[in-house]
């Protein structure tokens, strides 16, 4: 009896081609390789009946058949596994454009963002952050700052009072006095905080705003140190070099006094929309601490000198974030707060 290997090959190829899933694959594997009745097993059983001179050829053909069947089954098995894996992946595919799942983050207030930045910069420069009461005696708010009785700044149209001798502080300069009373020079202090003026709210005014006061008292402090310090601060705050210029001005607690501007780094001083054509952006007021102020706190102005400066965080925020109405800063509108 001769075995038609060729037709077995063909038959297997036909049958394996119709296999579509793991189930039919297992049936096909049993039909061909089954230990009892598999077609390949049957062929092997015929081996004994093959004439010895043909046995080698038969064996070779048998091995080829067996390898062909096993390879065919393995190939289809791999195909099915792949297909199933693909199906699983397809089933598990998600819309990766849906929003991620985490508690939504809140936002720091823009004033806080700037205030923390400013504190960090000055602490790096050796300054200590100090604070004082928001309701101040007229001594700290005025007298000690060389704003005598009768000075226009004391009038009730500028300052809010809670009693005859207690007012809402109208500048953080009050903290200068507290700091100098607590400690002797050398001292470096900044004082950020709320201040209050009797301004009716509009797009550019609030009756409450945030100021930063700076004070540096030691032997040999000069206007040049003030300028260098302002320039270093501007460089660290904006990450850009910008010269600072002084304009002479008047604040009762400094002499000489000035306002300080930094050069607009959008146009480098040539004039643009940001600086309203002037090339300079107003920052705040500054000067050398007035000898009356130093004497009031028991510091000898012949031995020590100091500079002081102050600027508004709100105005800085307004410029940094291009705010069109600074009343938004204290309206607590979430549509605003969530932008920072």
């Amino acid at each position: 009896m001769s075995t038609n290997f060729e037709s077995l090959h063909d038959q297997f190829d036909r049958e394996v081609a119709s296999v579509s899933d793991a189930e039919s694959l297992r049936a096909l594997r049993d039909r061909w390789l089954g230990r009892k009745a598999g077609l390949v097993t049957d062929v092997r059983k015929q081996m004994g009946a093959v004439a010895s001179e043909d046995r080698a050829a038969f064996g070779k053909a048998f091995n080829a058949l067996q390898q062909h069947v096993e390879a065919g089954l393995d190939r289809v098995s791999a195909e099915i596994a792949n297909r199933e894996r693909d199906a699983t992946i397809a089933r598990e595919t998600v819309d990766i454009t849906l929003p991620g799942r985490a508690a939504p983050l809140g936002h720091r207030h823009p004033i806080t963002i700037l205030r923390q930045n400013i504190e960090d910069i000055f602490v790096r420069m050796g300054y200590s952050v100090e604070d004082g009461p928001e309701i101040e005696t007229t001594f700290f708010n005025f007298d000690a700052l060389n704003i005598p009785d009768g000075h226009p700044a004391r009038e009730s149209q500028d300052t809010m009072y809670v009693s005859e001798d207690l007012a809402l502080r109208s500048q953080t300069s009050t903290v200068q006095i507290h700091a100098m009373q607590r400690r002797q020079p050398p001292l470096r202090v900044i004082a950020p905080g709320r201040v209050f003026r009797r301004d009716t709210p509009d797009a550019t005014h609030n009756p409450m705003f945030f100021q930063v006061e700076g004070l540096n008292v030691a032997e040999g402090i000069t206007l040049a140190d003030l300028r260098g310090t302002c320039e270093e601060f501007v460089r660290q705050l904006f990450g850009a070099d910008a010269p600072v210029r002084f304009r002479a001005s008047y604040f009762p607690f400094v002499e000489p006094g000035c306002e300080f501007d930094y050069q607009c780094f959008v146009c480098k001083g040539t004039g643009c929309r940001v600086c309203k054509g002037s090339g300079w952006i107003e920052m705040g007021g500054a000067g050398m601490v007035h000898p009356h102020v130093l004497r009031t706190v028991g510091i000898d102005p012949e031995r020590f000198s100091g500079f002081a400066f102050g600027f508004g965080i709100d105005r800085l925020a307004a410029r940094q974030f291009d705010l069109d109405d600074i009343r938004l800063l204290f309206a607590n509108d979430l549509r605003f707060l969530e932008q920072f």
Binding site: A103, E130, P152, V162, P186, A248, Y250, E255, P256, N332
Partner: protein, 694 residues
Amino acid sequence: MRISINWLKEMVATDVDPRGIAERLTLAGLAVDTIEEIGGDTLFEFDITSNRPDALSHFGIAREVAALFDAPLAAPVATVEESGPATETLTSVAIEDAELCPRYVARVIRGVKIGPSPGWMVRRLEALGQRSINNVADVTNYVLLEQGHPLHAFDFNLLGGNRIVVRRARPGERIVTLEKLATGDEFREIELRDDMLVIADADVPVAIAGIKGGKGTGISDATVDVLLEAAYFQPAGVRRTARALKLDTDASHRFERGADIEATTRAIDRAAALIVEVAGGTVSRGVVDCYPRPAVRTPIPLRRSRVEALVGYEVTFDRMVDALRGLGFAVEPLRDTEELLAVAPSYRVDVAIEEDLVEEVARALGYGLVPSTLPPWGGSGTYLAGETERRAVRETLQAIGFNEAISLSFVDRALDDEFACTELDRAAAAGVDLVNPVLDNKPRMRSSLLTGLVEAYETNAKHGTRNVRLFELGKRFLRPADGERPVERETIGVLIAGTVDDADHRDRRDADFYDIKGAVEAVIRALRLPSFTFERARVECLHRGQAARIVRDGHVLGICGRVSPELATRRKFKSQVFLAELALDRMLGIEPTPVTYRRLPRFPSVVRDVSILVPKAVDYSDIVSGVRALGIPDLADFVLYDIFTGGSIPGDHLSMTLRATFRSEERTLTDDEVSASHRSIVDELASRFGASLR
């Protein structure tokens, strides 16, 4: 203040263009706000600081320009042709209060014809915003704009006794001023106080000194003879009276800052000459100059070393001397010691001490010369005490979805009282009210941060933002019952309203008490505060069944809960609102739990759940402490796992699953040991809390 460049250039010769002049003046402290070109002229709008009344006129600005640009200055010329009788035979001036009026100069011009001013004067006045009245009144305004010294013109024949008495008002005296009332043609009548200085004739006040003239003796079409006044009034007196009467005039503006006492004669001569030019008449001979206390100006010393010590660069002695002389100072140089003595010109009322002279030198040289240096320093900077904790609180609340609010510190009084919390400290304190609030509806310094947050919730709701999670760090203000000065307490306020996302796209729920409690717990964890408890509390603004106080060592650290239904209805809240107010100042005073390491467990733990049905009246904290009190040695943890109401659960009960974790530090626990402990827990729950096992 407006300045015409054409007018200015009549007094100072310079080729510098208007922009160049504006920039130099601005850098030197006379700030030009705007520059406007109109009809062949350029107008500067100045913002003059209150220390520089000398710059409140064209001549004042011209003086400064002349100094800064080293340009020739020409003072306005006044050639008075006098004739007829001596002025002192026509009138007299008596100063009764030389403190308030150290100098009074008068002239008489007779035979004027009142009428309109000539065109050139009208145009000049109107370009600078001054309405033309009549030729004599216009001259006084013209000289004010030109020289800065306020003048007043009286109808000489209407002055009782034809004389001037400068005195304080008598009690009950009144004056009808030249000020028209807003309502129409009526003139304002003022009742004077006896601390107010007036110009009087022989009988009655005819002007409020340095502020406003009286109507009765004003220039009218019928005026023929004029008495001109050029005086100096003490700044504080003028300011006091002007404030008391709520009058702010061009004259008071200058007198209260300090006029030039020596400019009186120059101004009155100029005005007399101009009156003759535009209204005719003759000027009687001489002035009456009542100057009982001539001003004495003391020399101020200035050391070169002091200049350099403050400005931070080298200044030669000659440059100092030249700078001050250029600005009109009389300088006596002491070259050996490189010191000088400077007498300020009479118009520079702001220069009194050495440092003022330093500023003058620095201004004249230009602040641009100041170099840029960084001062040496050996110390290190520090943050405000508690800043690390403040930042931790902000970051924590931000991380769980809260936005930071900053509210105005002033609030509505009624709303503030709604949130007055006796649990915190309002029992012993009242609110702090402002004497002169800027916003009529917000006259109170907030005694609670909740006031502002609730207003923020309402504003956001109005804009359609329903889900609100806000916090604020700031001070509240209280007036202690003992009447001491107000205290300021650093506080955290938190508000939640609307739905909570629970970090899921599909699963939203309404916020409830446990959201606000969670926020409070997050803050406490951020501050690492040890051993605190939540206790039921009665808080006026909060729901009686959903209010808690946070207590540690008998001290209340804060409160939290849901806004009371009554308040919510009254304020028309659209959703439930949950609030917390925490005394940050007290929390910062508590020593935080130190960070320590505990060894990781070496033996496995066994978890057993207990599901029970308990009456709603039972507090979870009692269940936990009851079980803890059993003292089971290997009970490592005992916490709520799940809670369930509704369904088959009776309405007055709830189903609670509690998870007990058993673990020994010495060995692996046996099943029997765990079961025995578990049973004792179940028994305890059943006997103490009427819990039944599910």
